[in-house]
């Protein structure tokens, strides 16, 4: 298969089952210890420490537990999970199996977004091979106490189902409306059982960490953001695609690598992330600065920032689940505001009200979608006032 990524990825250099083979010999507590020591944080974007999550689920006392792989990759500008599933599915499934052993779960579920239905037959084939090879099913690697199997559930086209509690609601047969947290899924997850929900990439790295050790992983990156990360680069660059960089990479270094140094602004973290102007390209992609699931959208010198804000807000208006008012109404009002700015009919007083509305949404929305949906609008207004105010349409 033609490689879908740019440059070499660590995933290509690691035997996908090396970690699993090692995990079979390890005690559960040592597996979690190794992941915790690596200081890996979730690769989906929210950045919760993976070891802590596994530890909480392992500590929960329950007759049944689940491992869920969040393959509902819907954040605009993100496509690294698709590439991982196409090229490194074994590594992801090995990571899920290791997690299964670590928390004592027997079942794993991949929640695959409907838009990726064309990946389904490939993934099913990989799962079959693994069952035949004794890497899934009962007594994995000859260990009679270690059973684990993986099934795939399809999504049905809803961005919000990437939020872990909405994902669980969806798997239980409901509308994908996020739940109040706590209780967290590690305690009350799928069918009320303790559930670990991790991103595709997180499982793949977990398998690598067990194969190579925590010290190998945390030697790279920054103190608070360890390891490598896959980035999905798109927009006005010469070489778009999936890249692997150490966490903590500076935006300007990243742009140099992908051929986008003349950029006017960069959106880090997808539609729900932040829009960074050229004057701040020394900022870093790390949890302590700009947390990201790896989406980097580059805007060239000729792009109209209001077109970008409008596109993002149209996205959120469509994808808001409608459950809570700040998000349901707020995004509509912000979108109207952007259109007023485009027409040159927005007063500064009203713009200030919109900014304050955005801040309210960040505080008052129920889930991450609503809390982060005003980010792009707020940063575009903050950084590009001269460009967006007083437009005249002839």
């Amino acid at each position: 298969m033609k490689a879908m990524h740019q440059g070499d990825l660590t995933f290509s250099s690691i035997d996908p089952n090396a970690g699993l083979k090692r995990a079979i010999q390890m005690k559960r507590i040592d597996i979690i210890g190794e992941i915790s020591r690596s200081k890996m944080r979730g690769r989906g974007g929210a950045g919760f420490p993976t070891g802590t999550k596994w530890n909480l689920a392992a500590a929960a006392v329950a007759p049944k537990k689940y491992i869920v792989c969040n393959a509902d990759e819907g954040e605009p500008g993100t496509f690294k999970d698709r590439v991982i599933l196409q090229e490194f599915a074994d590594l992801v499934f090995a990571g899920m199996t290791i997690a299964g052993k670590a928390i004592n779960a027997l079942e794993g579920i991949v929640y695959l977004r409907a838009e990726y239905t064309y990946l389904l037959s490939h993934l099913e084939a990989v799962l079959d091979q693994r069952r035949k090879a004794g890497l899934l099913g009962s007594s994995i690697g000859g260990d009679e106490s270690f059973s684990f199997d993986i099934t795939i559930r399809m999504g049905s086209g809803a961005y919000i189902c990437g939020e872990e509690t909405a994902l669980i609601e969806s798997m239980e047969g409901f509308r994908g409306e996020p739940r109040n947290r706590p209780p967290y899924p590690v305690d009350t997850g799928f069918m009320k059982h303790p559930t670990v929900v991790n991103n595709v990439e997180t499982f793949a790295w977990a398998a690598c960490i067990i194969a190579r050790g925590a010290d190998w992983f945390n030697a790279v990156g920054t103190d608070k953001s360890t390891g490598y990360k896959l980035f999905s680069i798109s927009g006005d660059v010469q070489r778009p695609g999936v890249y692997e960089f150490p966490m903590g990479i500076m935006v300007s270094d990243l742009l140099k690598e992908v051929g986008g140094s003349d950029a006017k602004a960069v959106q880090i973290g997808g539609a729900s992330g932040h829009c960074v102007p050229a004057s701040e390209f020394s900022r870093t992609c790390a949890f302590e600065d700009m947390s990201t699931g790896g989406s980097v959208i580059v805007f060239g010198p000729l792009r109209d920032m209001l077109d970008i804000a409008e596109n993002f807000l149209e996205f959120f208006v469509e994808e808001s689940c409608g459950q809570c008012t700040p998000c349901r109404i707020g995004n509509v009002k912000l979108l109207e505001g952007v259109r007023m700015l485009k027409e040159g009919t927005c007063s500064m007083t009203y713009l200030k009200e919109l900014l304050s509305l955005g801040e309210t949404m960040q505080l008052a929305s129920k889930c991450g979608l609503g809390q982060s949906s005003p980010n792009a609008f707020l940063s575009i207004v903050r950084h590009f006032k001269p460009e967006i105010m007083g437009r005249v349409n002839l």
Partner: protein, 172 residues
């Protein structure tokens, strides 16, 4: 014996429900199978599913209306979904959209009178490095130019028939 469409639909749903667990978590997989086979989830199908799972039909409707890949109204045999999100927008999706409308003689959100095509926008398809991207049923197309949009539509027209029904309208 002549089997009416609704009887066949009911029997399909009963068979699928036996394969899956008959509990609430089977709802979306059931709806997905109905959608795949019948291109939409009719009111009758919702009623049958509600009876099987012992929930109110309105619960089923609320789920169908929530997800963009589940439809209450009949859709075309080929559902063309063009990505409208930022990277594809910057890569020129507007021109592809215009060409698709011209080829099909419908606007976005509409279905052709012969029931062959539905044209829709969708959000990020995860093909941002190779936009503009679009889905035709389950199949993804990248770097679609207006000219290529025409070719894809032509291929769909040629594969329409029983073959398309069996293979979910896959075009190669």
């Amino acid at each position: 014996m002549l089997v009416t469409e609704n009887e066949r639909l009911r029997q399909n749903i009963l068979d699928w429900a036996d394969e899956l667990n008959r509990d609430r978590s089977a709802l979306i997989p059931l709806l997905q199978r109905v959608q795949k086979r019948y291109s939409s989830v009719s009111g009758f199908a919702m009623q049958v599913i509600a009876d099987i799972l012992d929930i109110h039909p309105v619960e089923v409707y609320s789920v169908v209306s929530f997800y963009s890949f589940l439809d209450h109204k009949p859709k075309g045999r080929f559902i063309i979904r063009l990505c409208q999100t930022i990277s594809c927008a910057m890569a020129g999706k507007d021109r592809v959209a215009r060409q698709l409308e011209n080829e099909l003689g419908i606007r976005f959100g509409e279905t052709t009178a012969d029931g062959k095509f539905t044209l829709e926008y969708t959000n990020c398809l995860g093909m941002c490095d190779r936009g503009p991207a679009m889905l035709v049923n389950d199949q993804v197309f990248t770097q679609v130019s207006p000219e290529r949009a025409h070719e894809i539509v032509e291929k769909c027209r040629q594969t329409f028939g029983t073959f398309a029904l069996q293979d979910q309208g896959r075009i190669d």
